[in-house]
């Protein structure tokens, strides 16, 4: 049994590598909400997080995969500027009272400071492709839902 679990774990890790700290906390928050019905993230805060992760991913992934000579992943190795940006965002979440977002940013940054992952790149503590793709899909769904619900009954009927 242990061997099977170990094999499954190795295969999953072979595909997803090391998840970001923010991903782990997001999954934890979702599990808590699912099992206890206690919502740690309000709908408003969830929108904020989706936009934060979605835009961050849009800045990072296309360029780092070779779209340009500019490679934003590099800023994660010498991340003073990046820490300043996400520090400001964290301050805003504190003022705004987005505690889950604040905890995620603080945990990711502390984990980076203590280099708890194999990588020493700050981006790898904040984001991973699974979290970013989830955010993009969720934002698309939200956008579609809004556009759809804002239409007149005639238009909605036509779309239907």
């Amino acid at each position: 049994m242990i061997e099977v679990i170990s094999e499954v774990y190795m295969r999953i890790r072979g595909i997803i590598d090391e998840p970001a700290i923010m991903t782990i906390l997001w999954v934890l928050a979702s599990l808590i909400a699912w099992t206890t019905k206690v919502r740690l993230v309000s709908p408003q805060e969830k929108h904020f997080l989706l936009w934060l992760i979605g835009i961050s991913g849009l800045v990072l992934y296309p360029a780092t995969l070779g779209l340009s000579m500019w490679d934003p992943y590099r800023y994660g190795y010498d991340p003073v500027g990046l820490l300043a940006v996400y520090g400001c965002i964290a301050l805003w979440t504190a003022v705004r009272g987005y505690w889950a977002s604040l905890c995620m940013l603080l945990a990711a940054t502390l984990a980076f400071a203590f280099q708890l992952k194999t990588s020493i790149n700050y981006w790898d503590y904040l984001l991973d492709p699974m979290l970013v793709i989830y955010s993009w899909l969720a934002l698309l769904r939200l956008g579609y839902g809004r556009a759809y619900s804002g239409r007149s009954p005639e238009v909605r009927a036509r779309v239907r």
């Binding site: 000579m69 190795y77 300043a84 603080l106 400071a113 790149n121």
Partner: protein, 430 residues
Amino acid sequence: MTHKPRYLSLIGVVVVAAVFGYAINNSLPTASAPPAFLIQSFEKSAGVGSYQQRFINHKADNFIHSPSVAELNGGDLLAVWFEGSREGAADVQIMQSRFVAAENRWTEPTVLINRESTARGVGRYIRKLGNPVAARDANGKVFVFFVSVSVGGWAGSAINWIASTDDAKTWSAPKRLITTPFFNISTLVRNPPVLHENGVIGLPVYHEFLGKFPEYLLISDAGRVIDKIRMNRGTESLQPSIAPIDSDTAMAVLRYAGDGLPRALGQITSNRGAQWPKPQALAIANPNSSLASVATGLVEWPLLVVANDTEDDRYRLRMYVTDASMSQWKMIYAPDASPNEDGKLYNIEADPDYIKNLMSTVSASAMDDAALVVKNRVCRDGKSCELQYEYPTLIRVSNGHYHLVYAWNDMLIKHVVFDQAWLEKQIAQP
């Protein structure tokens, strides 16, 4: 607006300031440009003009590829390559052999790394192994970087490493380099690293997922990536081979993987690898194959390059020297070449023992069995032979000698050693 007690926000602001301030303070020491290149010093004697060749392995049963070589203590060498039933097969292993200088021979090859040992070390499923690269850092620590794939083809590659602090006798468990934020996939290694000051290793790598382009990794002596510099973008440049010329300048030659005129690419950094200009097409042809380069220490011809200088196949491997701007090229020798200059299949009907005789010029010991295997695999119907000499690695060691290893018909590893006097004599020839 969410209404929360103001004191909670105040506590939040203080915690944010503390955590981010701590992180910024901790990250400051790594903020720097690449340190100066370490320029190797060599023994003064230029040698006696010697050129020798031999095979490292003597059994031709498997597919072997991508050999690499590194200097060890006392004139010994470490050669590594991958070997299996075919490229990308699950049974591919990283093999090693040691050149014992005192006995002037290569030891029998043994397995250095396999899929299982890699999986155990990096804690991930490993589907296949690929290119290994051996190197020794300034403190004598020996590294082997190697490619592995967990999912998909070579685009799903990641780089791993093992290290030895006792001159390649025992090795650490494999560890993973984190090189990209996208599932850490699609970074491959092929050519040896160059050394910077402060123990920093500069590893030329390449990306092969949505594009094909080279990158330069700066790695700490603890084996962590501390910076990554893009050398190019696009879909046509791979496998950079970098040779430092002085503490600030390095020349790179690259494999051309595009659809245009097949010419090797070159670029020169003048700020320790911090920036690389767009690669330029060079005067030598390149059939989408790996090149090797090393600095010669000569003012007029500072770079020695070994390459398949053909447009469509790898039937010929030649040595060139080039000037500091990579505009003048001079062919000085061909370590191996098919007798058919046009690269067409070489017909050995008139000389059925061609392969055996060719191998006997390289190996002091009889390799009749291996010669038969090579002939059977290389020559269609036992007569039309498709010869391939590829994936060279070239280094220069402390005594000033150059060591070249390359895949000989993807079955054997050929090792060529020559000294500075031989090189200069070849250059002097018209």
